[in-house]
Symmetry: C2
Subunit: 196 residues, 2 copies
């Protein structure tokens, strides 16, 4: 396998997919198992997961999702480039009332696992409240995140932040997607000098 | 390299280390770079990181940390088994007021990267407010998490949750650490049946 550094670098947010290539339920469950094995604050493990891979279910889920907030002239992938599967991440509020930290860990495991097998995905947090009804999700389960998955059909590149400090991702005319990341110097804070 | 599944399985929370084995600042910065490359909600990237690897700094940090909340008769690792390094994770509140989701992603990258090079670590969120003063951390930086790092000197095993549903981790007489994880059946929610 590649190193974890390479795998992390390749794990970008992909929003256009080759919809002709399905993702099986078995694959989704393997990815959910990676989330299961990860750390959890106080080991409470309040997250649950609904795998969605059937084309009919996919069609039901898609209209409830908000895509790429910073790209205002794009309302999401066209037919043929939509995700082949989803993992609906749910917080079981009978277990704990908060789960954002765990969700970060779990979703990263899922996306790293996806990258390793040639898939890619996108974390979507802009979700219509009607998704709950569409999927008959019980009241005690809070919809936290939808992870869209498929075989990526776009290129995504990390780039530097321009001098005005704008962190918004953007696309060029060839539909190549660029994600500005702060450089190391900007995120490192030095410890105080030692007395001696 | 191992597969991501193996790497995730090996990435457990370690709380006892071989303190005679140092971790360099260079290594910490490589791990922080993995956090930098990860996804961030709305790509805002509000997290900053202070690497701590000097023994004098380590001695200053250690007393401010709370260890293993569920193991009430253990107040933390003894001398010789303490972490060789720390990464202090900070939220830059001038950038954004919240960062728990990003912190989950970033800390998972750091710990996976640590596992790959034979290190292990522990996310510590129980932190004395005095750590800020000790490390001269500026007011606009909120201390979110301390990741303790070193060469692990204990064994940690995933186990099933017992029938009473207790998720508290525990240790046996040989100081082996067990972490109960919910099984797959418990965390999977089925989508609704299809109409046809």
């Amino acid at each position: 396998m590649t190193t974890i550094t390479e795998l992390i670098q390749q794990t970008r947010s992909y929003r256009r997919f080759d919809e002709s290539k399905p993702v099986s339920d078995k694959t989704l469950i393997k990815l959910i198992n990676l989330a299961r094995l990860s750390g959890s604050a106080r080991n409470v493990q309040p997250l649950k997961y609904m795998p969605i891979s059937n084309p009919e279910h996919n069609c039901q889920v898609f209209p409830h999702l908000g895509w790429a907030g910073y790209i205002s002239d794009w309302s999401g992938p066209i037919e043929g480039e939509r995700p082949s599967a989803y993992i609906i991440c749910l917080l079981d509020t009978t277990i704990f009332e908060e789960g954002n930290f765990d969700l970060g860990i779990a979703s990263q495991n899922i996306l790293l696992g996806a990258t390793e097998i040639g898939l890619g995905g996108c974390r979507i947090a802009t979700i219509s409240p009607n998704l709950r009804k569409t999927l008959s999700i019980e009241d005690h389960l809070q919809v936290m995140l939808v992870i869209a998955l498929g075989v990526p059909k776009e290129e995504v590149e990390i780039t530097k932040i321009d001098p005005n400090g704008d962190i918004k991702y953007w696309r060029d005319k060839e539909e190549r997607h660029y994600v500005p990341k702060r450089n190391l110097e900007e995120i490192l804070i030095s410890p105080p000098s030692l007395s001696k």
